[in-house]
């Protein structure tokens, strides 16, 4: 082949060969660049169907543009019908060759594993699984950049199962249990293989071995690898943890995404970069050097030690800062604030100490909080969106008033607490370069304000002015409604001041109230039985109550049903929010009870709290309003319920029902007008 020209590629030299075919270095005579040509074994592409499949897979892989994935330029065919891939040609060695010299330095292991992980992660994002990650498929260029080779080709060669090809290629040792059983594989198979490679880089040996292929497979399926610390002593716990979790035989127990490994490796890399991590071998070396100079003069030693310590400290801090800034810039470009938050936190540096003002503006915004009364303790927790929506650790920023406190952009759960007052919890969104001012009035710890929050005077989404009012944090629960029933709420006409409409007909109270009975005929919600709510549902919102009953409860409690303007102001405030918690619509299922799981205890979705501190405004149960925005005889319900898709929260999906209608998805909450407040 050497010296021959195939298509417009002049073959220069043979680079290697194996089960996946032979690789040649070649010159692209058209573009005048050096490339690598991989000729696949003819038996893999012997028929037209195989060829088409091969071309499609190669095309999919060629769409992967990432610095850690080998670039595929094109797929071509020789005159005699042999397919070959044209790839970028890199100067360097495969990881297989690097490992022939023994285990690698830990810092080197971290760098290589991190880059392999990043390449895999990119491919997984596009739905492409490598299926054949092994040291021979990992190229390390002379510039220490890792390139993953042969993406997607394993599928073509049938290496999703054990085949002759896989055997000859030495692939079996890197196969996951599900792969060796011939089952369907996903990205977690690549996680396994990455775990095997890390184990091998660290220890210099494979985790699963055998004299012959079936013995290797048996070991993969049944054995636990020898613990790394039996084989090497300077391995950080994080590496051992990665290997241990990556090599879980049950895919569900394994890391589900390569991204999880990347996070740990990045943190480890930062420790190396900042000098925080010193291996036991390095410690030994330091001790040996110290002994060498122990007999030097004391004065010189003290001066030297002080000078060195100062130098290291200053140098280390500067290095940390530079490394931090270098990593932060791309995160800012990509608006990856969660990642930036973690990075800054891990570095131990504060956002305000970053040297570049422009960067601070693009990373953070200011929060000011005023409360009535002043002096409330402000505790924040960042809401992480990755890997899953979760509340971060609490941290305090002092007492109110808080003025222009710089925070990294993102979502925060704020808790205001003050002696003698009800605490208040709500969500805010900090946008980069913006200042947010929050004013809240706390309520005294009195029975009459229990479970309520105050909404200060303001305008709602329609621009309508809404006077201040109090509103229940939660929907009224079964237990609370039982108090009304026990207090003979259904027997006292004074609690039922409205005209009673039954089936659209004005009906005397005595007759009307006879209709509002439970399954056993006792006065109460339709889904209760024997005058009691269903077992274990005391904290669930009461359902199966008509508008008339909701109104009677309010009358008994000295409250009222919210009107349209009040309810929407409590739910969305005056800002153009999409949902009570802000604009994040992709995590709705984690913040609100939509989707047929039945009612849930009130407040079960703490990250769905509204800007004013109300829970379950979206989902759980739809809520009766005082008024109607439709036919006068009908009463409005809003907010969407557990039976609805989430778009039912929107005001355009408000619906109206007869005031005697009751359903398993309609409940209510109460308001109190401010003139009644002391």
């Amino acid at each position: 082949m050497i010296g021959k020209t195939v298509s417009h590629y002049k073959i220069l030299e043979k680079l290697g060969g194996g089960g996946m075919g032979v690789v040649y270095k070649a010159e692209d005579t058209k573009l005048k660049r050096t490339v690598a040509l991989k000729f696949l074994p003819p038996d893999l592409t012997r028929d037209d169907e195989s060829k088409v499949r091969f071309i499609q897979e190669a095309q999919a892989a060629s769409a992967l543009q990432h610095s850690n994935i080998c670039t595929i330029h094109e797929v071509d065919e020789t005159e005699d019908g042999q397919l070959f891939i044209v790839m970028a040609c890199y100067e360097g060695d495969t990881l297989k060759k690097k490992m022939e010299q023994g285990p690698l330095e830990i810092e080197n292991v971290v760098n290589i594993a991190l880059q392999v992980g990043k390449g895999l992660s990119k491919a997984h994002e596009k739905g492409i699984v490598h299926r054949d990650i092994k040291p021979a498929n990992v190229m390390i260029t002379d510039g220490r950049v890792v390139k993953i080779l042969d993406f997607g080709l394993a599928k073509l060669t049938g290496q999703t199962r054990i085949t002759k090809t896989a055997t000859t290629m030495g692939t079996i040792a890197y196969m996951s249990p599900e792969q060796s059983r011939g089952e369907t594989v996903d990205q977690r198979t690549d996680v396994w293989a990455l775990g095997v490679i890390i184990y091998q880089m660290v220890t210099g040996q494979l985790p699963f071995k055998g004299e012959y292929d079936q013995a290797v497979v048996y070991s993969i399926l049944n054995d636990d690898p020898e613990p790394i610390d039996n084989l090497r002593t300077d391995v950080p716990a994080e590496i051992q943890e990665i290997v241990q979790k990556s090599l879980q035989k049950d895919v569900e127990l394994r890391y589900q995404r390569v991204g999880d490994i990347i996070g740990i490796l990045e943190a480890l890399k930062r420790k190396f970069d900042s000098g925080q991590l010193v291996t036991p071998d390095q410690k030994k070396e330091h001790r040996r050097k110290r002994k060498k100079y122990v007999y030097a003069t004391l004065a010189v030693l003290i001066v030297s030690v002080i000078a060195v310590a100062l130098f290291l400290r200053l140098g280390s801090k500067a290095r940390r800062m530079n490394a931090l800034l270098e990593q932060l810039h791309p995160m800012v470009e990509a608006a990856q604030f969660d990642e930036a938050f973690k990075l800054i936190n891990d570095s131990g540096l504060a956002l305000r100490n970053l040297k570049t003002k422009d960067l601070v503006v693009r990373l953070g915004g200011n929060l000011s909080i005023q409360t009535m009364p002043v002096g409330a303790l402000v505790t924040l927790a960042r809401i992480n969106s990755k890997p899953d929506l979760s509340k971060g650790e609490d941290f305090s920023i002092g007492l109110t008033p808080v003025v222009d406190h710089l925070l990294l952009a993102g979502e925060y759960l704020i808790n205001l607490s003050c002696e003698g007052m009800n605490s208040l919890e709500f969500l805010v969104q900090i946008d980069p370069g913006e200042s947010l001012e929050v004013n809240r009035t706390l309520l005294e710890q009195k029975n009459e304000f229990s479970g309520m929050v105050r909404i200060d005077e303001g305008v709602n989404l329609d621009g309508q002015s809404i006077p201040a009012f109090l509103i229940d944090k939660h929907e009224v629960t079964n237990a609370e409604f039982l108090d009304f029933v026990t207090a003979r709420g259904y027997n006292e006409e004074k609690f039922w001041p409205e005209d009673m409409m039954i089936a659209g007909v004005l009906t005397p109270w005595e007759s009307a109230v006879q209709k509002f009975v439970d399954k056993t005929g006792i006065s109460g919600p339709r889904f209760w039985s024997g005058g009691r709510y269903p077992e274990g549902k005391e904290n669930h919102p009461v359902v199966g109550i008509s508008w008339h009953e909701a109104k009677a409860y309010c009358q008994w409690a000295g409250k009222n049903l919210p009107n349209w303007g009040q309810w929407w102001r409590a739910a969305l405030g005056e800002k153009e929010s999409t949902k009570p918690w802000g604009g994040d619509v992709r995590t709705t299922h984690l913040r609100a009870n939509f989707g047929f799981r039945g009612t849930q205890p009130v407040g079960s979705y703490p990250l769905g709290v509204s800007l004013f501190g109300c829970f379950d405004m979206a989902g759980n149960v739809r809520e009766w309003l005082l008024d109607s925005n439709a036919d006068r005889k009908l009463r409005t319900v809003v907010g969407g319920s557990w039976k609805d898709p989430d778009y039912m929260f929107e005001y355009s999906h408000a619906e109206s029902f007869d005031p005697d209608f009751a359903s398993e998805d309609i409940g209510f909450r109460c308001v109190k007008i401010i003139s009644q407040e002391k």
């Binding site: 619509v585 992709r586 299922h589 047929f596 609805d644 929107e650 355009s652």
Partner: protein, 312 residues
């Protein structure tokens, strides 16, 4: 005498026609609801939905999960060269190897698409009922999200898609192609019975099903849950994307509609009743005393019974 009576009737009819023509614009009367396009015109619409039947599916299985006896495969396949459909395929664990019936499920207009818990529950319900259920993301929703829709509010969806006639036609065309490819996928890749593949759509998914049901003749039955002609905010469509031109062409395959009397999205009088009128037998509508979305147990039971009769 007879001639004068005839003339009087003609004058009367002309007056009625004139008055009908004067219906105010704000009532948003759709001309196709009065008179759907003729067969010759309709035939030209079908050209919109042609696709490359030989395009490989390039199926990618992303994960497999089991939930209380139901297996859910998360997968994707190529619909058209530049469009990959993401889907969940539900089936009861231990299903028999013989050719099974299947349903394609279309979600409503939520950001999460097929992944919204509401639709996962429906898909599981249908799977437990004995069908393999392919629940697909419609373009712009779920895993097929783009920058076109970001807040998924009704205002945004209507402004950018539902009330943007050219964009809506393009979207509807892709949706119908996706459904046709889903049928191909179920038959060729999953071995389901080609004669027993039904279509179930919810809300906006039902609107898509109205069009796809008329265009794709391989569907054995069509179910529209909380669907209708226009929703409360919809204005107009190009004729090739208007359900009124398709609903009558689902026949002779059976059609079931389930709607809420209190639905303020698809109003009974102006959206649902006129569309059902246009549909031809065999057709059935079940009214429930509810709003747009909630389907009580008896309605779900009626749905399963009807599917047992017509799609199994």
């Amino acid at each position: 005498m007879k001639r004068s009576i005839f003339l009087a009737i003609l004058v009367l009819l002309a007056s009625i026609t004139f008055l009908v023509g004067k219906v105010p614009q704000d009532e948003r009367k759709c001309q196709w609801l009065d008179k759907p396009v003729d067969d010759l015109t309709f035939k030209t619409f079908l050209d919109f939905f042609k696709y490359d039947e030989d395009l490989p599916f390039e199926v990618q299985t992303l994960n497999v999960k089991e939930h209380e006896g139901v297996k859910r495969e998360h997968l994707s396949f190529l619909s058209t060269p530049d469009e990959r459909v993401f889907a969940h395929l539900y089936s009861v664990i231990g299903t028999s190897p013989k050719k099974e019936p299947a349903l394609i499920f279309l979600h409503g207009g939520v950001a999460a698409g097929k992944d919204a818990p509401h639709y996962e529950v429906y898909s599981e319900l249908l799977a437990r009922g004995g069908w393999r259920v392919l629940s697909i993301d419609l373009k712009y929703f779920g895993e097929r999200g783009t920058s076109l829709l970001t807040t998924f509010t009704e205002d945004e969806k209507h402004e950018k898609l539902y009330n943007n006639p050219p964009a809506y036609l393009a979207w509807m065309t892709q949706c119908v192609k996706d459904i046709s490819r889903s049928i191909d996928f179920l038959i060729n890749e999953k071995g389901v019975d080609p004669n027993r593949i039904g279509l179930v759509g919810f809300s906006r998914g039902a609107v898509v099903a109205e069009v796809a049901g008329g265009a794709e003749k391989r569907l054995c039955a069509v179910v529209l849950l909380h669907g209708g002609h226009f929703d409360a905010k919809e204005r107009e469509h190009l004729p090739a994307a208007c359900p009124a031109n398709y609903i009558g062409r689902i026949s002779p395959r059976p059609l079931l509609m389930i709607n809420g009397t209190r639905d303020t999205d698809f109003f009974k009088e102006t959206s649902v009743d006129p569309l059902f009128e246009l549909a031809k037998d065999p057709k059935k509508i079940i009214w429930i005393e509810a709003g747009h979305a909630a389907m009580p147990e008896e309605a779900r039971s009626s749905l399963l019974k009807w599917l047992q009769e017509y799609a199994k």
